[in-house]
Amino acid sequence: MKAIVNIGLKTGVLDSQGKATHHTLDTLGFKDVVADVRIGKQIILQLNTSDENEAREQVAKMCEDLLANTVIEDYEITLEA
């Protein structure tokens, strides 16, 4: 089973990279198209288990312990068979 973890800054925490990238998109002519840009990271884990509940529980633990800094970041786990 594969786990895809998306990590990004919490709403309300200034995303300087997103802001700078948004600014550059504006100058490229996308000013009217783009309302906001947020940048995060994606971590893809190949898991040995095929039990969805176990996978979700274990990956959430990894996020809390290491993969995300929950003071400033949120995480979202997607599982694929």
């Binding site: 990279q17 800094n69 400033i72």
Partner: protein, 223 residues
């Protein structure tokens, strides 16, 4: 006085830190991160600057699970003094030994220069030799030094006298450097035995190198 300086793969300020504390008369040992115990006579643990684990994942994130950190947490929980400088500060926030987090600098630049920091509180062992409001000339060198605390935590830090240092100009007026909330450059825990700051006092020990203001800061631990 036995100062123990930790060394992780990618640490690069361990020798400057050793030099600084030896210059103040302390005995200094550099300890590898795979060790699981601290010397019995340790009087201060320093997590020095650098790029532990290449800053992979997040600055300080991988170092927090290094074997030596269990001993550091135990030492700190018994009231032992711990100081984190730059990457060491990042490791302490990642570990949860200090509150808040250090984000990418707002201007996205790696900032490396001499900058002034103002003493906000000297009611602690670290800054006991400094004066409140005093502007110290100390080098900074970081990419992720933008201190973040939500409003609730910020109020708590202020109320408990945990804000130690703020970025300022040479006259002590607050100055934005990297986007830190309230221009915070350094904090301590509530119990005032764990200290973290982004600037490098160990690089301000010799007049020839531009400043000796680091001396009176680090000397606080020797008194």
């Amino acid at each position: 006085m036995h100062v123990v300086v930790l060394r992780f793969p990618g640490t690069n300020c361990e020798f400057d830190t050793k030099y600084a504390f030896e210059r103040l008369g302390a005995t200094v040992s550099i300890i590898w991160h795979e060790e699981t115990t601290l010397p019995n006579d340790t009087t201060l643990v320093v997590l020095p600057g650098g790029f532990s684990y290449g800053d992979y994942l997040r600055s300080g994130a991988l170092a927090k699970h290094a074997p030596i950190m269990t001993a550091v947490k135990e030492y700190a929980s018994k009231g032992g003094f711990v100081l984190g400088i730059c990457n060491g500060f990042q490791i302490l926030t990642e570990t949860g030994l200090l509150p808040g987090a250090l984000k990418r600098n707002d201007n996205l630049h790696f900032i490396s220069k001499h900058h002034h920091i103002k003493v906000v509180s000297n009611n602690n062992p670290f800054l006991q030799n400094t004066t409140i409001g005093e502007a110290l000339n100390i080098p900074v060198a970081h990419h992720d030094g933008n201190f973040y605390a939500n409003d609730e935590l910020l109020q708590e830090l202020i109320a408990n006298d945990q804000v130690l240092l703020q970025y300022c100009d040479k006259d002590g007026n607050n100055q934005i450097l990297n986007g830190s909330v309230d221009q915070i450059a350094g904090i301590c825990n509530k119990e005032k035995n764990i200290f973290g700051l982004m600037p490098h006092p160990e690089r301000a020990m010799e007049a020839l190198l531009g400043s000796v203001d680091g001396v009176k800061m680090l000397e606080g631990f020797l008194k």
